[in-house]
Amino acid sequence: MAHTEKDHIKVSAQLESEIDGLISHYPQKRSASLMILHRLQEEFGYLSQPAIEWTAMKLELQPINIYELVTFYPMFREHPVGKTVVRVCRTLSCALGGSHQLHSHLCRKLGLNPADKGPQNTPDGKFTIEFAECLASCGTPPVVMCNDDFYDNVSTDQADKLIKKYNQP
């Protein structure tokens, strides 16, 4: 396999020392893997093969030990996503409170397929929209997360405002 620019990730000295700090929280290095993956995903947007390999190297593990986490945990991503990831809660209390209608509305607004429950990216790379399971705020449905920001009782009007707010170049 030919190596290209993309086969490497640049972990700055500052990021690496932050990660060393995380590793120091555990008596066994391997425990830090989830926290490191969160940090790398935050930094690079997704977890590329090189990011996985770097994490394995850092924790003295085989890449498969990290890869199997990335493929298991729903929050980790192997592929680039939109600048803003919109997650709409799919589960019962939110469904009773209109979250599926909200998901359809958002999809239509962004030119995506309302019937598709999985992650969908807008062609301009600005948004990814997907369903998520119960986000633990079932008393204030529908519940939505835009990246790390949390919104509840989201009406269609508010959803339109959210799209405007996050629609940045």
Partner: protein, 464 residues
């Protein structure tokens, strides 16, 4: 009229109450910790009882039961910890809060994080723990930050770190984030996840956390709310604490009410001092105008559903302590651990989901089954395959492609998953909704299937 009793959420929603340590201390925060750290050994019947043993005894006497799902005695759980192994003992706070319908730990973490930290330090001290973790679900990024900050503040005041409150006791607490998998709420799945692995639950025996937990060392896993209660047990004294609630169901509990009610939300009550009907009508404002009650899930999505109008024969003790059998409507069931269990369901994570007569019950179950199919970890064949089959059958039924026999087909699958056939209780959790929904609303499942059969029969004739 039943009333709220705020112990855990006493300060959380008060105007001006903030999450910083100064505000917490202004409201009496960390006083209990100081009191506990100043406790001395006592002599009783010629035996020396350490402060740690005294705290553990208090927690046992308080009757505190776990608020995470199973309602297991906290004191008893602590008594199982292997204290002779020579290995370190760990404490892990379960802040995964992933049972659909539940949003109580979110309130504590985001509005009063120091209460949890204080409860954890006391619990850790009582169990000779020097390293503890908070396992918080990945979808609480702000909550995680707030806890990290609270820990930092507590360290600056010497409530954490080395030589806590001037004693020789050391403790570190770290925040560990999950990444969106429900099974990380199951305590042994959680421990695997904390070890940096896939969260595959461990088989019990032998992997009881109290003996072989984190890094194969004795480990206590307790829910957020449970650990907060420990602080109040020590503040009030076990005797006073046990006066709250009802016998064997002591203390208070945060009940989350969602679904078709006017005022969904969280309400803290003395355990058993409000009925399900009072919770729905007095607290949550009752049903929406013109609607009728159809079904109630009483303890998070895994709990067996109740059908409106269902009656139960419940054994209760009368005033003289005699056991009497009483017929009760589901709305008259006191919200506690034991009565709900006697009625064939559970108070689980303390989450009530209300469905009114506009609810398509087959679709509601389909929604839950999709959740379980998505969240099964996949280790055990009955759970991995069964949860998927159930969700597929329900999808088919809800998309107009079912058959009348699908109701029995669903029951056949659901009846073959739980009962010791799987590694963890997720097997139960995914089949209980199907068993109860289909048995109690069978006509609706059969009608949907029959309608689809007639329709496809008609299309078949037309095509001939």
């Amino acid at each position: 009229m039943a009333e709220e009793y705020r112990l855990i959420l006493k300060n959380a929603d008060q105007p001006g109450y903030t999450v910083d340590i100064d505000c917490y201390q202004k409201h009496g925060g960390y006083q209990t910790l100081k009191k506990v750290m100043a406790m001395a050994a006592i002599e009783k019947d010629g035996k020396v009882i350490s402060p740690q043993e005294q705290i553990r005894e208090e927690v046992k006497v308080s009757g505190l039961r776990g608020r995470g799902g199973a309602g297991f005695s906290c004191g008893l759980k602590w008594s199982f910890v292997d204290r002779r192994s020579g290995k370190p003992i760990y404490l892990v706070c379960n802040a995964d809060e992933s049972e659909p319908g539940t949003f109580k730990d979110r309130q504590i973490i985001h509005k009063d994080p120091h209460q949890l930290i204080e409860g954890m330090i006391i619990s850790a001290y009582a169990n000779d723990v020097h390293l503890a973790y908070i396992y918080i679900r990945g979808e609480f990024p702000q909550g995680a930050q707030m806890l990290v900050r609270a820990i930092e503040e507590a360290r600056q005041k010497n409530f954490l770190g080395k030589g806590i409150c001037g004693t020789s006791y050391d403790l570190e607490i770290y925040v560990h984030r999950g990444a969106g998998a429900y099974i990380c709420g199951e305590e042994t799945g959680l421990l695997e996840s904390l070890e940096g692995k896939r969260p595959y639950p461990r088989i019990k025996p032998p992997y009881f956390p109290a003996v072989l937990g984190l890094y194969m060392s004795p480990t206590i896993v307790n829910n957020v709310e449970t650990l907060c209660h420990v602080k109040h047990v020590m503040e009030m004294g076990a005797g006073e604490y046990a006066k709250l609630g009802t016998p064997n169901n002591t203390g208070t509990r945060i009940v989350c009410i969602s679904g078709h009610v006017r005022k969904p939300g969280y309400y803290e009550i003395q355990v058993g001092h409000a009925t399900i009907g009072q919770l729905i009508h007095d607290f949550a404002g009752g049903l929406l105008p013109g609607r009728k009650l159809k079904a109630i899930i009483p303890g998070g999505s895994s709990a067996k559903v109740f059908k409106a109008g269902e009656k139960f024969k419940i054994k209760q003790k009368d005033k003289d302590g005699h056991e009497v059998e009483k017929e009760m409507d589901i709305l008259d069931i006191p919200y506690d651990f034991d009565t709900l269990m006697a009625a064939g369901s559970m108070s689980g994570s303390g989450a009530i989901i209300v469905m009114d007569d506009t609810t398509d019950i087959v679709e509601a179950l389909g929604n839950l089954s999709d959740f379980y199919a998505h969240e099964s970890c996949g280790q055990c064949t009955p759970c991995r395959e069964g949860s998927l089959w159930m969700s597929k059958a329900l999808t088919r039924l809800n998309n107009g492609g079912g058959r009348k026999q699908d109701a029995d087909y669903l029951l056949k699958i659901a009846d073959n998953i739980p009962g010791g056939r799987t590694i963890c209780a997720f097997g139960e959790a995914c089949s209980w909704p199907v068993q109860s929904f289909v048995r109690k609303f069978k006509d609706e499942f059969e009608a949907k299937g029959a309608a689809a059969e007639i329709k496809s029969g008609q299309t078949a004739t037309m095509n001939q």
